[in-house]
Symmetry: C2
Subunit: 267 residues, 2 copies
């Protein structure tokens, strides 16, 4: 299994604090020693860092914990290999272009049998079930929507239906983004927290580190973090119900539950 | 204009020395202050670093000058913006997947009018003429070869013919790789050097730095570096004739000239 971390914000925000909470789980406080990766969106651009070495020992990961790269959408992943060897090409997040946008994807879980699902345009570069699932999902989106649909909820519902199909194969906790929205599907474990004024102090579970967000933010900032397990010990995180998906957009949290039409705002 | 740097080697090799020679040109000894990027292949995997800030001042670039990431194929680029604003999505190298492989592409020059050329599957994320040309080229390869052709020279010749078409629009110095071969097309300026036993000392033009490759290599190593302008002052670099392309494969240099069949080895 692996651990996921995502962030969505209404202003470019650095993820140094949450990233510092995740990295020790990559071989020190957690067993996820088989590589790590992170994707930062800046406008339509996306910069990624991938390392097949344990996050807890990585010089690059240390640099990123203090380099304040400001982004409105971030996806990160630390890996404990279950399917596919430990190598750079098997390190999440995976990236592909669709509609002239960068799509980033990270997955926690197992999808036995997914590699038999036929692919069209997108092909995996590595050997993970995760990347195969991502290619299948993007293929489906591309086939159905040669251009982005006019109503965003149309795309959200389509994605939800297809990730639920994938989830039937096994375990499929997922983060995916095109740089605007961040899709977070919970199969077993995924929680979120929204921070906004009045900001308070937060204390990491996995490192001896506390931050006072009031010092780092302005009153209008909205920052939502989503993670496999809560990263802080003194805040209340909301668990996403298994089988459902939230969509983060500029820090706000929206839901689409099966059988319902329209969008529901959770924050 | 911009500067290009590529490396091909028969064993995983770090590019710290050559990269240290290129980075000062990104705003200190050269005017290319509008961002930089680098792609390192490790097997089928590719890790990239992109920064829209000047290379000469970049903390990330400084880390990469001392972090010995070992790779057999590297493409790097420092940018002086001529077309498209300074932003992350306009920072080379650009990446796309074709045939389940990562293709990386960097360009130096201008291609007036290329944005009118129709695109099929691949779409630019940023606004540069370079990324448009890359999408057009990969579209052409994909359409002609749904699967990789059996003979490598068939692909090489197809690529050469198409980059010559692009070159007619303006200036098109290019580095492109799929992680196996590195294609280097010279429109105006591109030179290469192959290093092999007996290895000697090399001295950078742009930084006060000398390296004795004999201390860092084994007798079987073959390492070829290709760059817009020679990076060292005490070695002989070979200029690629304008309008032609060399293909680097495991450090060896091959040529394909128009009108001739087959492959010619230069090293």
């Amino acid at each position: 299994m692996c651990e996921l971390l995502g962030m969505s914000a209404n202003v470019p925000t650095d993820i140094c604090f949450s990233f510092s909470g995740l990295m020790p789980r990559g071989g020190r406080t957690g067993p996820h020693k088989d590589g790590w990766g992170i994707a930062f969106y800046e406008g339509k651009g996306c910069r990624t860092f991938h390392d097949p070495a344990p996050a807890a020992d990585s010089e690059l990961a240390r640099l990123l914990q203090r380099l304040p790269i400001k982004s409105r959408n971030v996806i990160s992943h630390i890996r404990q290999a279950t399917h596919g060897q430990v190598s750079l090409e098997n390190t999440h997040p995976f990236l592909r272009e669709l509609w002239g946008r960068s799509w980033a994807f990270a997955h926690n879980g197992k999808l036995p049998g997914v590699k038999k699902w036929p692919l069209g345009f997108y092909r995996p570069i590595g050997t993970t079930d995760s990347e195969h699932a991502f290619c299948w999902l993007l293929d489906a989106i591309r086939r159905r929507f040669p251009r982005p649909p006019a109503r965003r909820a149309t795309l959200w519902r389509f994605i939800l239906e297809h990730v639920q199909e994938l989830n039937k194969l096994g375990t499929f906790n997922m983060l995916m983004s095109d740089g605007r929205e961040l899709f977070a599907f919970c199969s077993t474990h995924l929680s979120w927290i929204s921070r906004r004024a009045p900001f308070g102090e937060a204390k990491l579970v996995d490192a001896d580190m506390t931050v006072d967000f009031a010092e780092l933010t302005t009153p209008d900032d909205v920052v939502t973090v989503v993670a496999t397990r809560p990263l802080t010990s003194n805040e209340v995180w909301t668990t996403i119900p298994p089988g459902s998906m939230v969509v983060l957009d500029r820090g706000e949290v929206y839901g689409l539950e099966p059988g319902q039409r329209g969008v529901r705002r959770w924050t």
